[in-house]
Amino acid sequence: MANTLLALSCKQLLNNAIVRPGAAPMSSYVKTLIGKREVVGYGFNGEPNYVDRVDFPLPAIRWKEPNADILALREKEKGDWKLLSVEEKKALYRASFRQTFAEFKAPTGEWKGTIGVTLVLISCALWVIYGLKAFVYPPLPSSFSPENRAAQLRRILDLQINPIQGISSKWDYEKDDWKK
């Protein structure tokens, strides 16, 4: 029994290992996704998928599954294209492609919503800061008052802090005022 199983599985493995020329590379799963749509090219990544992209303008599959109307048009397409009406040409285009360049490049207007939501969130955050300042943080220390800051500046100048290029270099000690 075991030997038979082993032999069978070996045979299966060998069969799988041999690549048959001309065998369909597409898995049955992908086939279920694209249905009867015709695979017409490599696309952008070698998968039979449809994406409208400006950098890869020609998708790997046609957009619509062939139906009677489209097949009739395809037959007509084999003749002179001058005999096709504008509607027929458009129908042929729409059978192969989902959106035109103008359509898939059209602005979505999404930026408006994005900016709106961002501004709403920012204003919420401003109210939060306001609330924190009003109810949570203690008042600022006295060193932030204008008189105290003027006194600090005076002391910095009196100590001649940073006299070469900094603040004290801009102070005229003889006239007791800023240098003009």
Binding site: P57, L84, V86, T100, F101, E103
Partner: protein, 147 residues
């Protein structure tokens, strides 16, 4: 280092003959191909009599990878190829893609390309996107991400 060795080994294993549209040299040197040779190479590629839809798409995709607007003679050859495989949609799509490929200078380049292609368009009966009215959005289709 290992990668270089691999690439070399692969090059040895591969058959020497490569297709025109994708031929590239596995050298670090820059390509010495002139613009005329480049145009000729693609024109020749699209002028193959037994070209199929797959190859037209491959040639266009290769060509679109370059930072250029293809010469009208290449495009004319590509449109003729579309005629040979009876794919009008492909021809219209190529014209649309050319328009996009002109980028910011669409107003200068695209009318000139169409003017140069006019004899081919008339001969084959291809309508430009403008003539079909698809140069402006026609249908609204919601994004697949919003479904």
């Amino acid at each position: 280092m290992f990668r270089t060795a691999l690439v070399r080994a692969q090059a040895l294993v591969k058959p020497a003959a490569r297709n025109v549209a994708t031929s590239s040299r596995l050298l670090s040197k820059e390509s010495t191909e002139t613009d005329e040779q480049f145009d000729q190479r693609y024109e020749k590629f699209f002028s193959q009599q037994d070209i199929d839809g797959w190859d037209i798409r491959r040639g266009i995709t290769d060509l679109w990878g370059h930072d250029l607007v293809p010469e009208p003679k290449i495009l004319a050859a590509a449109l003729q190829a579309c005629r040979r495989v009876n794919d009008l949609a492909l021809a219209v799509r190529i014209l649309e893609a050319v328009k996009d490929k002109c980028g910011k200078r669409e107003a200068e380049i695209y009318p000139w390309v169409i003017q140069e292609l006019r004899p081919t368009l008339t001969q084959l009966g291809i309508s430009t996107p403008e003539e079909l009215g698809i140069h402006k959005p026609e249908l609204h289709t919601p994004s697949v991400f919003d479904l």
